[in-house]
């Protein structure tokens, strides 16, 4: 799972994070995390609230500047802290455009229609022709099951629909990796399934994904690797079947026991 920070861009994993540290003032949100994600792999981060899993996604996307450590996405390797090399301005924007992010609160642009939301990235950031962007946008809305909603505004959508638009908006940029930050946590229970179904399809299509979630049985279904995080560190990691069904770390066990219903369901299914 961990990666050598000198790994060659072609040979190593798609995403490599080494010794990542993020402090907010006195608070140590992430305390030395390393992980690697191969092309087409789905890695799921689980753990109690405040364990640092969302912060890791935000650091990979550089929505937060890491305090120290190394992050590599594709061939772009960045180091932080003393003597580090971060990105600014246009190069930072270009880096972010290669990574898709879906947020807990959807964050659709309320002044644009659904189709305009999805076209915004290609047109503004990639300077794509409007017609081509519209075609691409329609295709992606169809993929997430929202054909016919192109001209709706975000406030006319259910939470599940809004989150699927947000996924389409990120996918349309053809990112090298998709980051999902607790994307079903703000949804009514009956709407969770439609969003998970879209993510499941993406995983089957071979999309490289890092997923932060509390949906344990979903994690079991789609994850190649699971990292259990606690107190800003990786407490346990391994294939989904091992970490979720036969955890060795007592903290992982304690955490999973709180999802007893779903964990039992996983065992039955497994």
């Amino acid at each position: 799972m961990t990666s050598d920070s000198n790994a060659p861009p072609n040979g190593g994993p798609m995403i490599a994070v080494a010794d990542l540290v993020k402090h907010y003032g006195q608070v140590e949100a992430v305390r030395g995390v390393s992980l690697g994600v191969e092309r087409g792999e789905v890695v799921v981060l689980i753990g109690p609230s405040g364990c640092g899993k969302s912060t890791i996604l935000r650091c990979i996307h550089l929505l937060e500047e890491p305090t120290s450590g190394m992050i590599r996405v594709g061939s772009e390797q960045l180091t932080f802290g003393r003597g580090g090399r971060s990105l600014k301005g246009r190069r930072l924007a270009e880096y972010r455009s290669r990574i898709g992010m879906v947020f807990q609160q959807f964050e659709l642009f309320p002044h644009m229609t659904v189709l305009q939301n999805v076209m915004e990235g290609p047109v503004t950031v990639k300077r794509m022709d409007r017609r081509a962007a519209a075609d691409l946008g329609r295709a992606l809305l169809a993929k997430v099951g929202l054909s016919g909603k192109e001209d709706s505004y975000p406030n006319q959508l259910s939470g599940g629909q809004a989150q699927r638009v947000a996924i389409a908006r990120a996918l349309v940029m053809e990112p090298e990796v998709m980051l999902f930050d607790e994307v079903t946590s703000a949804l009514d229970p009956e709407l969770v399934g439609e969003v998970l179904a879209v993510m499941r399809q993406l995983a089957e299509d071979g999309t490289t994904m890092i997923v932060v979630t509390h949906e344990i049985s979903f994690a079991h279904d789609i994850a190649d690797h699971v990292l259990f995080m606690d107190g800003g560190q990786v407490a346990e990691h391994g294939p989904a079947a091992e970490v979720l069904v036969h955890p060795t770390n007592p903290r992982t066990r304690a955490f999973l026991s709180r999802f007893h219903g779903t964990a039992a369901a996983v065992r039955v299914a497994g």
């Binding site: 996307h61 929505l63 301005g89 246009r90 924007a93 270009e94 880096y95 972010r96 455009s97 290669r98 990574i99 898709g100 992010m101 947020f103 609160q105 964050e107 659709l108 642009f109 309320p110 002044h111 915004e120 990235g121 503004t124 950031v125 908006r169 990120a170 940029m173």
Partner: protein, 219 residues
């Protein structure tokens, strides 16, 4: 009361009143327009993290918000020429005060409008790979401007009323013309009632507009 109401003397010379209304409207439009431009520039600059940018702007806004407009107009007319060593024409001195006053309030309206757009929207734009300028132009400002419209209309209404203060430096606006006509006719009741009515006729449609805009923004 045996007062004999007589408007004929007051309105004997309509062209004078038209010209007074013209001066009032001209000052209102010009100072509102320039004030909004000042507000847009200063309001956006206030978002900077550089203290040497924001500190002078904060000082400007607070000075103009925390001193009476009447004092500002008089200061620009009587005091500034001493500093500059040449006297400003009355129309300019009065216009400067009104414009900078409007600019200070618009600065706050722009700043407040932009920061009212939630962090999540900024992050969603950044996540797509937008530069700061693209983010402002495509995501933040279109939403913020909608929220700024009602306060800007309200401030413009206040500004039109504030032009009455021009009277102290003898700019021939509606209020000043009223005082001249009163001196000539000894008819303050008719004159000032007419003046008030003219302000009302100009502003009432604007308040209706402001209400309609507020309803639209709420939707």
């Amino acid at each position: 009361m045996h007062y004999h109401w007589d408007l004929s003397m007051v309105l004997a010379d309509p062209s004078r009143w038209w010209s007074a209304v013209g001066v009032t409207l001209l000052y209102s439009f010009a100072t509102v327009a320039v004030g909004i431009v000042i507000g847009a520039v200063c309001g956006l600059a206030l978002l900077s993290r550089r203290r040497w940018v924001t500190l002078p702007l904060e000082a400007y806004v607070e000075v103009f918000r925390c001193t009476p407009l009447l004092v500002q107009i008089v200061w620009f007319y009587y005091a500034l020429p001493i500093l500059l060593n040449f006297s400003l024409p009355a129309w300019l001195a009065a216009g400067l005060g009104l414009t900078l006053y409007m600019g200070a309030f618009c600065t706050e309206i722009f700043r407040a409008g932009v920061i009212s757009i939630g962090r999540g929207q900024w992050q969603a734009g950044r996540a797509l790979g937008m530069t700061q300028i693209q983010l402002m132009r495509r995501i933040v400002l279109p939403q913020a401007v909608r929220r700024m419209v009602p306060p800007l209309v309200n401030q413009s209404i206040t500004q039109l009323k504030n032009t009455a203060l021009l009277y102290v430096v003898a700019v021939p606006d509606l209020m000043y013309t009223g005082s001249i006509v009163t001196a000539e006719t000894y008819r303050p009741l008719e004159v000032y009632t007419s003046v008030a009515a003219m302000y009302f006729i100009m502003l009432y449609p604007m308040t209706l507009l402001a209400k309609r805009l507020e309803v639209r923004v709420d939707q």
